[in-house]
């Protein structure tokens, strides 16, 4: 099983892929969800954003067998918070499996 750090890198990489922005752009300034939508040429609204997160979650499930369900997030939420939600959920499932 990959380490927590490896999973974090993996999720960040997937965010960047699906949001259509570099990791530096996304995490460097810890952008809000609203700012991500504005920056990315690939996204016009919060449905597009939801889809980008769903793709990240799908990749996690396919490649690591982990299932993350995202809650409804306000558009002023920062991306670090979304990453945290993903990581907490991933961590919880790792512990469940180890037990």
């Amino acid at each position: 099983m990959p380490s927590a750090d490896e999973l974090k890198d993996y999720i960040q990489k997937k965010f960047s892929e699906h949001l259509g922005l570099s990791q530096e752009e996304i995490f460097g300034a810890d952008l809000t969800l609203a700012a991500l939508i504005t920056r990315s040429e690939r996204m016009a609204n919060s449905v597009d954003l939801m889809e980008a997160f769903a793709r990240t979650s799908n990749a996690l499930r396919r490649e690591h067998g982990l299932r993350v369900r995202l809650p409804a997030l306000a558009l002023d939420t920062r991306i670090s918070k979304v990453l945290e939600v993903f990581l907490q959920e991933v961590q919880r499932q790792r512990e469940e499996r180890a037990a």
Partner: protein, 310 residues
């Protein structure tokens, strides 16, 4: 004078059927060769057969018999209905633009979308009855005035999106409205107001059916993906989703437009419509009709959406 092409004989039409919504548009256009002129006539017939008078309906309400709770409901309804005009104006514009994008590439899709844009005129006109009836009643009842500023604010136009997403969102918006009005019709004790709520609720159901038919046509054509319909339904039914309207913990503050379901003001003593389960069931039913895919819980809806996203 230019010659008008003449048919040798007049067209023999079968005895008049009841007007109806063409539910299987893609097939009707592709296989039965139905034209926009024919589809438009069907829309016109249905619209005419369902006409009612806002003036008469308002006159029929016995103002003294309207309870305090009903008054708040009327006030909210009038405000909410203000947002339908920008919705219909936008649909007319978006549909024409989208129709031209398909011309020559997939003419059946171009026709479905043009039929939708054409119908938006009836939708707009019918919503005018809702808006004016409730706002007039609110005025007669002496309720808090809607300022011109609010009026203009509520006329802001929703930003454009994918056509299938838009039609699904509009189907759901009509579902939420229809369920709310049905609830109001049941609760109110004043007969005139009850009749008005019932009438408006029936209109909203009819609008829902139209939106579903247009959305289904797009999916049937193979040019639009079911995931877009599921994404919008998920947005409404996920935890903390839009279906809870202004009751949600967090309602987005928007500069761009007003979502009517976010603006309902629940005040003390108001017997507020909710019926979340009923709304959910109708949304699943709409998804089934649009995409052919069955789901029966919010979790299943999310799972299916995520699968479709890939």
């Amino acid at each position: 004078m230019s010659a008008v092409p003449q048919r040798r004989e007049v067209l023999r039409v079968p005895p008049t059927r009841k007007a109806e919504i063409v539910a299987d548009l893609y097939r009707a256009i592709r296989e039965e060769g139905r034209t926009l002129v024919e589809l438009e006539w069907e829309q016109q017939r249905l619209h005419e057969s369902r006409r009612w008078s806002a003036v008469e309906r308002v006159d029929a309400v016995e103002l003294e018999g309207v309870s305090a709770s009903d008054r708040l409901v009327v006030w909210n309804a009038g405000r909410a209905e203000l947002t339908t005009k920008p919705g219909a104006d936008r649909l007319a514009r978006l549909a024409d633009q989208e129709c031209r994008r398909w011309q020559g590439r997939n003419d059946a899709v171009a026709s479905i979308i043009q039929a939708c844009g054409t119908w938006s005129r009836y939708w707009n006109e019918e919503e005018a009855h809702h808006e004016t009836s409730f706002n007039r009643l609110a005025l007669l009842l002496g309720l808090e005035r809607i300022s011109d500023e609010t009026f203009i604010e509520f006329r802001k136009i929703f930003p454009d999106d994918d056509m299938l997403r838009t039609l699904t969102l509009l189907s759901i918006s009509e579902i939420v409205a229809a369920v709310n009005y049905a609830h109001c019709a049941r609760i109110t004790q004043e007969p005139g107001l009850k009749a008005l709520f019932k009438q408006v609720g029936a209109d909203e159901i009819q609008h829902m059916n139209y939106f579903i038919a247009f959305a289904k046509g797009l999916v049937d054509s193979g040019e639009y993906r079911a995931k877009e319909a599921f994404a919008v339904a998920h947005l409404f039914l996920r935890e903390g989703g839009e279906v809870q309207g202004s009751r949600r913990e967090h309602v987005e503050q928007r500069e761009t437009h007003v979502n009517w379901w976010d603006q309902l003001e629940y005040r003390e003593g108001m017997n507020a419509p909710d019926a979340a389960e009923k709304k959910e069931t109708l949304i699943f039913h709409a998804l089934k009709r649009i995409t052919g895919i069955t789901v029966s819980s919010a979790e299943e809806l999310e799972d299916t959406w995520m699968e479709l996203v890939g």
